[in-house]
Amino acid sequence: MDFLTLLQVLDSTVRLATPLLLACLAGLFSERAGIFDIGLEGKMLASAFFAAATAALTGSVWLGLLAGIASSMVLSAIHGLASITFRGNQLISGVAINFLAAGMTVLIAQDWFAQGGRTPSLMSGGRFEDITLPLAGTLAPVPIIGPIYAELISGHSILVYVAFLCVPATWWVLFRTRFGLRLRAVGEAPEAVDTAGVSVIGLRFAAVGICGLLCGLAGAYLATGLQAGFVKDMTAGRGYIALAALIFAKWRPWYALWACLLFGLLQAVALRYQNIDLGGIVIPVQFMDALPYILTVVILAGFVGKAIPPRAGGEPYVKER
């Protein structure tokens, strides 16, 4: 493998890891506050559709982004209503959101555009263009560092940089602010937070809202950054891989970054090389596709350190009567 190929694979890794990273951080906020969220997939899908549809109708990618985030947050609010206010089962609510999004997007797309559940292809104003960072052209001839800067770091859409900046931001919010401390506490011991006079319900809704925002970014990136339009079921299981990454990362922001990059790298390698020949042993592409899940199971089984979920996760909070 030469240097250029390596760069291309890493470049592909960054693109593939970005939606995973955003969805993974979304899940992190929600689950740290004690609300399990299977519905990441559905929220991304809804956001992808509304981002693409709005961008197609208005010609503005920014309005598309707003619409995507709004739709994702509406689904988050439904999830919150079902699992926080009405104390329903969080997993069932999440699954319901996935089904709702999968059916609703295709139905509305068919009604609006009559193109078999697709949106029309977006023109240039309706898409996030790749941005070239300053000095990318001048630095490119510099050996090693030049190509890395020009090819790998520069030339992504703005949402990629937003996603990567979300990692330190998430770390800072969760571990360096009062809000973050309370949010984590609400996932571990909500009764303690309640005793301190802080609203458990309010905090959990805030967490679910942030989750909706980040899922919205992820979906909009898929439909208007990576692609030029919505195709039915276009998230293709990325929400579930993000959940796997979240467990792999043991619910920590920096680990989440590395987990998502690793899963992105595995995908990129699987796409680039169908079957990998390691001196006699051929690794089939199916194995590479399955590897994220296998790794997650290994982690869950406790072979590589233990993944301990937030203690109050999955349980609706009932005030003592």
């Binding site: 592909s12 939606p19 697709r118 692609q227 195709v231 079921d233 293709a236 796409l271």
Partner: protein
């Protein structure tokens, strides 16, 4: 009680005879829906063409769930609709159970073989159509490297790939054909993001024409090919319009012709396996105002000549599904 039974019997006979007198053909769309810009819409267009030419109508239903397959089939059969046409291989099992119950009704199923005396099974020679677009790809390529991106890794898609590779090699024996499959689960049909990444990977390996046989994933392939300024080839229906001037051609599967033929035959529908190939207009390549600039006269002549040879039997394109192997790759 006996009186009641007589009445019911009479009513049923009346209803049945009334239904039989209509004998309208019926068309059942698969879950993709009628206006899917692809398979089902092509079927609808064929039926529409038949109905306009003959001034008659046909019955139709769009399925909403798996459970409705058998229900819809039985409803139409009880109604006396004849023939009943259905799109998609997913009807295979259900039709196998239903068909023997209605020996006087003729059924036509597209893309699947059901062995029953009153069923016409329409299958397409996709490898022949892929061969033709493979020739075009090789003639349009400047680098001598062309790509193929399949959806889910199943024998049917390998059949596309194999026909394509044979067409490429027929024009340029030294050409390289890069083949990639998107995945091994049904999600591979709807993953345009992976389609894009695969296209980028193939471009970096030198491909300058990419053929997508991948359903919704192909949307991403065609988009990336247009963004990166290389040529792409669409599949099933004419996708040239999606990026005018950047889609070299599309491999056409004339589902509309198959539906039209079945409806035109009416209740006298000839049963058995009906192979739609290059010879009888079942498969082909698309030429319209969007790609007229890309396909030169020489290219068109060469492909039309090959099509004639295939039709006359002078040229045989190997079918991957006949022995699960491909002579070239």
């Amino acid at each position: 009680m006996t009186l009641m039974q007589k009445f019911l019997g009479a009513a049923a006979t009346l209803a049945l005879s009334a239904g039989a007198a209509l004998a309208e053909p019926a068309l059942i769309f698969d879950l993709g829906g009628k206006f899917d810009k692809s398979f089902n819409e092509a079927a609808f267009n064929g039926a529409q063409r038949w109905s306009q030419e003959n001034g008659t109508s046909f019955r139709e239903i769009e399925l909403q769930s798996e459970a409705q397959r058998e229900q819809a089939l039985r409803r139409f059969a009880e109604n006396g609709n004849n023939p009943i046409v259905m799109t998609g291989f997913a009807f295979g099992n259900v039709l196998g159970e239903v068909a023997p119950d209605y020996p006087d009704t003729k059924f036509a199923i597209i893309d699947m073989v059901v062995d029953a005396p009153n069923v016409r099974s329409v299958v397409f020679n996709e490898h022949e159509g892929s061969y033709l677009v493979g020739m075009l790809a090789a003639m349009a390529s400047e680098t001598g490297t062309v790509g193929f991106i399949g959806g889910m890794d199943i024998p049917l898609i390998r059949k596309f790939a194999c026909g394509y590779a044979q067409g490429v090699k027929a024009v340029n024996p030294d050409a390289t054909v890069i083949q990639n499959m998107t995945g091994t689960t049904p999600a591979a049909w709807n993953d345009p993001v992976k389609g894009s990444e695969l296209t980028k990977a193939q471009i970096s390996q030198g491909a300058d024409v990419v053929y997508a046989a991948a359903g919704g994933t192909g949307v991403g392939v065609l988009q990336t090919a247009a963004d990166e300024d290389i040529l792409s080839i669409g599949v099933d229906s004419n996708q040239n319009y999606m990026h005018p001037g950047q889609v070299l051609t599309s491999m056409l599967k004339r589902v509309d012709n198959a539906v039209y033929d079945a409806m035109a035959a009416g209740p006298d529908l000839e049963t058995g396996i009906n192979v739609m190939g290059v010879g009888n207009g079942g498969v082909g390549y698309a030429l319209d105002e969007h790609n007229a600039q890309l396909v030169t006269n020489d290219m068109q002549n060469a492909v039309d000549q090959a099509a004639e040879q295939i039709a006359s039997g002078d040229l045989t394109v190997h079918d991957y599904m006949s022995d699960n192997s491909c002579p070239v790759n």
